[in-house]
């Protein structure tokens, strides 16, 4: 197993981080947070030009055919820059769903467009109240038409198609569908969330035409598989964000004076930052484990994903809240950037299942004796 990225991967990182520094300052994040736009289209166009949306898509579908390690590098940098983009929805969720379960025809139809960024995908599983399960699903489908409501769907307002989970009577109680969102039987409404730099929507399907993805009655297993894979990628984003929070705190602490000396010289602040560093580093180690499991399709993936996810949730939340604390009163203002990583950490701590859900997954996986 590798615990460091290769030289080429680090080159990719340098390129990505340089690019994002130039094109995704916190001003860009703020513009989306404050404005009506759902994401930064200019930045999206550039990210697509760089080929990031095509990273793991095989060459036969016009992708770059790179490994998941490259995608992890990109995820970390996107997380670090707090990029206001539909990248995770389109790449970690929709593209993954197609890669994992798509038929040859479906892949041929959708993947080239996802690679070229000409369309954006999203994943619609949740229905608002509590953790979604096959039993709780009210969205349903027959033959080729789907009805129900999904919320919150990340990037649901701007996506071109959605991977939708609906109840069914066979198998594990759920099936997965591909639904074109630009049809008249689909209506969507943007939602206000705790992180306005990432848009979310409610989507209503009223007999929308839908196409089965994967086998009937295997939707729940598919969702879990997609989540396991996405958890690793999100974890890299989260760790990147946590490192940003630590950087911000450090810069501020070194420059701010109180009681005649920099606050960085007070142990209450030092130890706070040391704790952030320790949590971040430990979480990152789990991410490496996850990256390895994802890139090699290892049977340990469920365990690796759960450890990466929980570690990253905790590290990001901790770093972002302690960053605010380090900034004192300034940290609580709208004007300061401390709110960005904090909002993002909250969003990413619940989007694909919260801590207890993943802790339970981990214990289950260990109990049932899957490789620990």
């Amino acid at each position: 197993m590798n615990f460091e990225f290769s030289e080429e991967q680090n080159l990719l990182r340098e390129q990505a981080s340089g690019f994002l520094k130039d094109h995704c300052s916190t001003k860009v994040v703020r513009k989306i947070l404050d404005g009506d736009e759902s994401y930064d289209q200019e930045l999206w166009t550039k990210v697509v030009e760089m080929g990031w949306t095509a990273t793991v898509i095989p060459e036969e579908y016009d992708g770059l055919g790179m490994s998941y390690l490259e995608l992890c590098v990109i995820a970390e940098e996107l997380g670090r820059s707090l990029a206001p983009l539909p990248f995770s929805s389109s790449v970690y969720l929709a593209t993954e769903a197609l890669l994992v379960a798509g038929s040859k025809e479906q892949k041929e139809e959708w993947l080239p467009k996802l690679a070229s960024g000409s369309i954006i995908g999203c994943l619609a599983a949740g229905e608002g109240k509590g953790q979604v399960t096959p039993k709780s699903l009210t969205t349903s489908a027959d033959a080729s038409s789907l009805s129900g409501s999904k919320l919150p769907v990340a990037d649901g307002d701007i996506a071109d198609f959605a991977v939708v989970f609906a109840a069914c009577d066979s198998g594990d109680g759920a099936s997965t569908y591909l639904v074109d969102l630009n049809q008249s039987s689909v209506s969507r409404q943007k939602l206000d969330t705790i992180d306005p730099s990432r848009s979310h929507a409610k989507i209503d399907f009223a007999g929308a035409s839908a196409e089965l993805l994967g086998k009937e009655g295997e939707g729940w297993a598919l969702l879990n598989n997609i989540y396991d894979r996405a958890a690793v990628l999100f974890a890299w984003e989260q760790v990147g964000g946590a490192e940003t929070a630590l950087e911000m705190a450090k810069d501020y602490a070194m420059g701010r004076f109180a009681f005649g000396r920099p606050i960085a010289t007070y142990q209450a602040i030092k130890h706070k930052l040391a704790n952030m560093y320790v949590k971040n580093t430990l979480a990152k180690s789990n991410c490496y484990y996850g990256a390895w499991a994802l890139s090699t399709n290892a049977p340990e993936l469920p365990i690796a994903a759960a450890t990466a996810r929980v570690g990253a949730i905790q590290a990001y939340y901790f770093a972002s809240k302690e960053n605010i604390q380090t900034h004192g009163g300034m940290g609580f203002t709208w004007e300061f950037d401390c709110q960005f990583p904090y909002r993002r950490s909250k969003l990413l701590s619940i989007n694909i299942g919260s801590e207890p859900v993943w802790q339970e997954k981990l214990i289950k996986a260990i109990e049932t004796g899957r490789a620990a």
């Binding site: 960085a264 142990q267 130890h271 930052l273 704790n275 560093y277 180690s285 759960a306 207890p356 802790q359």
Partner: protein, 416 residues
Amino acid sequence: MSNLTVNAVKEEVRAWLQENWDAGLSLVEWRNKLADSGWGVPDWPGQWYGRDLPVAMLPEIEEEFAEVNAVGVARSGIRMLAAATILEHGNDLHKKEFLRRILTGEDTWCQLFSEPGSGSDLAGATTRADFDGENWIVNGQKLWTTSAHHADYGLLLARTDWDVPKHQGLTYFILDMTQPGVDVHQVKQMNGHASFNQVFITDATVAPQYRVDEEGAGWRVAMTTLAHERRNADGMNRLNRDSGLPGAIYEEERKEVATVMEPYKWYPQRAGRVDLVMQRAKQTGRIENASVRQEIAKLLIMSKSAEWTARRARAAQELGMPQGPEGSLGKLAASNVAKQASGVHTLISGADALLTGSDGAMDGLIAEVLVSVPAVSIAGGTDEIQRNIIAERVLGMEKEPRFDSGPFKDVPRNVV
């Protein structure tokens, strides 16, 4: 490290063991063979009982040893800190005289750093060494000295100059613990064991050739010892397990474990015994309890991330990257894991965890975890000190204002 080289090395050690492993030898005879061949400590320099192999190769080599039940060199305890320090700072005389006997287990070592008046503030040591023209004469008191009651030698940090700032006035020595001026008393710990000691030193002598590195360079040398301690190079996490095999050499090894290694017998408990958690939770049925499950999951994640972090550090080391802060980080991670584990064991065992001895859970082992865990956050540098190190050395945050610069003789200190 390609698979090719791994396989070649495994093959080589296998062949060597086939030729040489002989359970009929005495422990010391066998370990001398290991020292001569370099297979005892393959990561050490070729010139000094090793084979210049990367650390990552060790588990592979150990596998081959286990395959034929071959005994290894003595490689746990303070002796490994002594070896690491001597390899880095000692001269050829030190290396010749001490390294081999460390590996054969003939000599046991202790670390004479902490004192009643200075633990975290190690550079505030007041044990003194004065040169009388012929020898260094040592006077003072050390405390918390693990294994001193078995030790043949001590790694001694003593003050040789009181007129310079504290860090500059220290010198590092190798002290013969068996001489009359060294008086050792065991100190009982809160878990009932007595693995550490008070050491009273009265006019003990150190011949000039047993000074390590320059006069006044003691702090630098001590940092090497501590870096290895934090990296867990003391081998405590791979305490000799009882082979359970019949035969004279295994008998000798068992005796070693029961005597010189006795002070470390509770060390696995102080680390929290994460290995027992799932098994205990299943046995007691507590695994069914939702909140217990969540706490176990948290623990397992912490412990996994500590493990991966250590492996990452080792990998970085192999790539020749400079030694970073992993020691401090690893120590803090271990201390968090231990605390969480103690909490989880309490949740799992319930009232059973209160009972010690044969009445208690796992014959009192769980109770021993609970009263041993606090040591992890103190021994080898407290959690607070590790956080200071990370904040100042890694994050580059400015040091606190301090009150101990200037000649040491003028620095305010504990009266003991």
